[in-house]
Subunit: 288 residues, 2 copies
């Protein structure tokens, strides 16, 4: 199987590592707008060669778009017309704008919008790791609009990445993604900004910060170039969840201001309901 | 050395485990207002016996208060008058109210306000673990008001817990703690509430949530009974950091609403400045 990956960062690179390691891809071609990333990916052996022209992608069985979500739309329109029966998959964090962009395209059936729910706060080809996707979920959006045989091919590829498939329409995907992923990143970025704003003396943060702080602020290390387009594309849903989030923070603020212990306890006990969900999840995703 | 621990939860229990394991304490006495916790701590071997009366604590060399911060103030006033030359340490998350409560007390010199910067999102005696404090910081507040020999004794005890001592006045401690610990908890509680509010269907959270979500929401599992008094006691500082935090969230909201990519990139690039601090920290706290 020949697999081409456009965007050789954390996600694209990690896909490359495991598709090769697990025998799914015999040959891996890569492409990256950042020539340093392309050279690094080649040096690390993530891909066998770097291609320069979209036409060269036609020799692949599968072409994966692992680029920022705004770049994905442009690439989609450039690449789709060149294909005959190859599978084109994007693996970005927002889906509705992409699905709308291919709506009515005569090659629509060659495209699958997929979202592997995995990542780390690191970026670039040197951040790519084996096992990133193991036991995680991959969302297929509007898969009924993709050619059935190509969906089977995508199933085989994500099975090699050891992912569980979930189906969803693009609209629902974007709402859920805002709540279980996008807001976590904004929360973390804003937390880092607050602490850096106050603690001019970095030594205090460094000395005092414990595991709890590190854990909530970890995502603030994420790539701005990747996240800005996600927030822009999922604007409506992200604004909605941001409002909900800010309202709950006001709820805490008011309870603390009023020294209303009952209300504070009520809010935190309600938040504790996340426990069984997280615990069950941990149990299922622990590697054997 | 005889050590008494009042409050046999995550912190008190974890102290007990390592003080015994590392030969610092020969005998450990325990006390807990929750009789189930007391029985469980005894069953788990965290302490050798449970005492019922404050007078019995006088046979200890060190008495540790590891209770919610509101309970600590009441206990302090009950226990301090009974002591001759024993060391009384509290290990809670807020310090100024406690320091004010002992101000002018004729036994003030027997008391040390200390804050070991370590914890997990779990609570109760069964959450106690060995190594919780290793390579973490412990803050001594206003240590110059404590008897010098007793401070040496505290040094020896926290050395057995493998902690680095930092000195700070109680007021500064409470400000820093609001920024590097307390706000992380509110952020996490509010995040859990937002997601639970939207996702009535718990299966969606469970299926889609990836590592990033789990990491930012982890602290929402924390004990409300422990955190309500912390937020109340550190009210002024917590309200200040909450305001800063909400302002940054509004900054994100406005940038997303206005589709202002430049502003979004600016905010996230600034937040990325947390990277070297977290990375250095990880390097230093990794266990050999």
């Amino acid at each position: 199987m020949i697999v081409s990956i456009i965007g050789l960062g954390l996600i694209g690179g990690s896909i490359a590592i495991d598709l090769r390691k697990r025998g799914f891809a015999n040959s891996l071609l890569g492409m990256d707008a950042n020539t340093e990333h392309a050279a690094k990916a080649l040096e690390l052996g993530l891909v066998d060669s770097i291609v320069d022209h979209y036409e060269q992608l036609r020799f692949s069985d599968i072409i994966i778009l692992a680029v920022p979500v705004d770049a994905a739309i442009a690439l989609l329109n450039n690449i789709l017309p060149l294909l005959d029966n190859q599978l084109l998959i994007d693996v970005g964090s927002t889906k509705e704008p992409l699905i709308n962009a291919v709506n009515g395209n005569e090659k629509r059936h060659l495209f699958l919008a997929a979202h592997p729910m995995a990542g780390t706060e690191f970026s670039g080809p040197q951040a790519a790791i084996s096992g990133l996707f193991d036991q995680k979920a991959v969302i297929f959006c509007n898969a009924e609009e993709t050619d059935t045989n190509l969906v089977y091919l995508a199933d085989a590829m994500f099975a090699a990445l050891k992912m569980r498939r979930i189906d969803m329409d693009a609209k629902s995907h974007d709402i859920h993604a805002a709540y279980v992923s996008h807001i976590s990143h904004i929360s973390s970025f804003a937390l880092a900004l607050s602490v850096l704003h106050k603690e001019k003396d970095e030594r205090s943060i460094f000395e005092m910060a414990s595991g709890g702080f590190a854990s909530t602020v970890r995502l603030a290390k994420s790539s701005p170039d990747m996240w800005a387009p996600i927030f822009m594309q999922n604007r409506k849903n992200v604004l909605e969840v941001l409002d909900t989030y800010i309202n709950y923070l006001y709820d805490f603020k008011l309870a603390i201001f009023n020294q209303d212990k009952e209300r504070l306890l009520f809010l935190m006990n309600k938040a504790n309901d996340i426990k069984p969900i997280l615990n069950l999840k941990e149990k299922l995703t622990v590697k054997p």
